[in-house]
Amino acid sequence: MNSELLNEFTFFVLAVFVGIEVISKVPTMLHTPLMSGTNAIHGIILVGALVIAAGANSPVTIILGLLAVVLATTNVVGGFVVTDRMLEMFKGRQTTRTQEPVQPK
């Protein structure tokens, strides 16, 4: 095992503990936004998609790269926006906005 791999493995193991520790106490009502927020964070795969797309030089890699960038960008942008939309709703009465019209079915 070379030292770079060892470093990476160390980060991996530590991140497992941090990931578990950091959300250990989350109220039920935040489960959905939290899931959505973590969903946006794994959109970091866009970094990987950019790396492979930038170097694309054959039809196969061009198609793979394009698809990967589209999917990863959708994940990042959609993930953060939809999470924000959910959390926007969590407001107390003191910050009452103008009443939104009830959505017609």
Partner: protein, 461 residues
């Protein structure tokens, strides 16, 4: 310069961790999402200058980002609140698919004989990412009702799924050791896509949130594996954070339903019970229905009212109507609270989100443990489009599939009003004795419709 990029990735990782931390508390949750988004911007900003573009590369990145951003924004903005669960599934599937494609592209670059440290994480990422992609699409289809929400099972299903998994392991070995089969990793991808579908098919619609959460954790791990392949610190840390926290969240969600994760994933919940429920419904027991005016009087002259919202409220978009009713009752001096079951609606927290949209104050939203002792003091409990989460069978019928699930003690109240569209059983597909209870009055119809009528009647009362 490398140092700057490395530090930027470190900063991004720190922001992700802080973001997650903030997301776990109601006061800071929205900032948490911004914090994580800032981390994302920094990570991406540190990546772009490091790229070595080919001509085609620059173009496809530009096109890809524009399309992805448009799809993501429009999808997230246009989606109705009730459809958010399936939207999250779609975004998650996109991430999983991206992780798998990145790994395929890397394997193509490595050539036919990747070393174990290059090959193993790539193959892992392909398999897990593809399972997440196709599984998420099925979860979406089930929640969007593009296909039946009931579990799809057939004899020998577990065996078939086991065989698919075995074939995948075989291909993994082939790719890593022999690697002479052309497009072996594409075959691997196809097999993994099939496994994702086969894995989610037997799981009922009610359990989709848990599945989405699990697939979310899967995508995180696939992203981390891609990080090993690309030697990218940001991918490893962020992906692992999501994998770990997502796994814990999945467990918390199934705990809230009072079931083990194994039971959720392999129990085909809601399948057998549908038949049992149908039989029980034929016993010819009678239910009591009430007029809107009677119910309005009952509510207006109560002291304590507890509202139990469920998925029916979400479907009918009745959150504003229910708040209007609550406001009206409060003006008359009635104490109104909302009892939120951990899995009410289609996702944990679903009801909180909806009621918050209607500006229902936090303080009135009570979690199950907080309010369960209050039901016996309640004059009226108004159950709006909920069913399984108030079914006493969970407490007193050991044979029932929901036996052991924590429920709201609605049966202890003095009067119970059920607003339902029909006598149809809830997601779990089982009959609810509470509907036949002498204390129970049924008000059939669309929840918003019924509530609006009730509001007018209370005004007149």
């Amino acid at each position: 310069m490398t140092l700057v990029y490395a530090l930027a990735y470190l900063l991004a990782a720190v922001l992700f961790i802080l973001g997650l931390k903030q997301l776990s508390s109601p006061k800071t949750a929205r900032n948490g999402n911004f914090t994580a988004a800032a981390g994302m911007v920094i990570a991406l900003g540190a990546t772009v200058p490091q790229l070595h573009f080919t001509g085609a590369g620059a173009i496809i990145i530009l096109i890809g980002v524009v399309i992805g951003a448009a799809v993501g924004t429009v999808g997230a903005r246009q989606v109705k609140m009730t459809q958010i669960p399936q939207m999250v599934a779609l975004f998650n599937g996109a991430g999983g698919g991206a992780a798998a494609l990145v790994a395929v592209a890397e394997l193509v670059k490595f050539g036919p004989h990747p070393s174990l440290t290059e090959g193993l994480p790539s193959v892992f990422s392909i398999v897990i990412g593809s399972v997440s992609f196709s599984g998420s699409l099925i979860a979406f289809a089930k929640l969007q009702e593009l296909m039946t929400g009931t579990p799809i099972t057939y004899p020998g299903q577990q065996l078939v799924n086991g065989l698919i998994a075995a074939a995948i392991i075989g291909f993994v070995i082939a790719v890593l050791a022999i690697a002479s089969i052309p497009f072996s990793f594409l075959s691997l991808m196809v097999l993994a896509l099939i496994l994702g579908v086969a894995f989610v098919l037997p799981i009922g619609g009610a359990d989709m949130p848990v599945v989405i959460s699990l697939l979310n954790a899967f995508t995180g791990l696939a992203v981390a594996a891609s990080g090993f392949t690309l030697n990218n610190f940001a991918l490893i840390v962020a992906g692992t954070l999501v994998g770990a926290s997502g796994s814990l969240l999945t467990k918390l969600m199934s705990d809230a339903m009072g079931r083990s994760l194994g039971n959720v994933l392999f129990g085909a919940f809601g399948k057998v019970q549908t038949a049992a429920g149908a039989v029980a419904g034929k016993e010819g027991r009678t239910v009591r229905t009430g007029s809107v005016e009677d119910l309005a009087t009952l509510l207006a002259y109560s002291q304590r009212v507890i509202i139990v919202p469920g998925y029916g409220l979400a479907v009918a978009q009745a959150q504003h109507a229910v708040r209007e009713l609550a406001d009206l009752l409060e003006k008359r001096g009635v104490e109104v609270n909302y009892a939120i079951h951990p899995v009410a609606g289609r996702m944990p927290g679903h009801m909180n989100v909806l009621l918050a949209e209607a500006n229902v104050p936090y303080e009135q939203l009570k979690e199950m443990d907080e309010i369960n002792d209050e039901f016996k003091n309640a004059d009226v409990v108004l159950v709006v489009g909920a069913n399984d989460v108030v079914n006493p069978a969970a407490r007193n019928t050991p044979g029932s599939p929901i036996y052991g699930m924590p429920i709201l003690n609605v049966d202890e109240a003095k009067n119970i009003v059920f607003m339902k569209r029909s006598m149809r059983p809830g997601f779990a597909g089982i009959d609810n004795d509470l509907l036949y209870d002498p204390k129970t009055i049924m008000l059939f119809g669309d929840a918003k419709d019924s509530l609006t009528k009730l509001v007018n009647a209370v005004k007149a009362a």
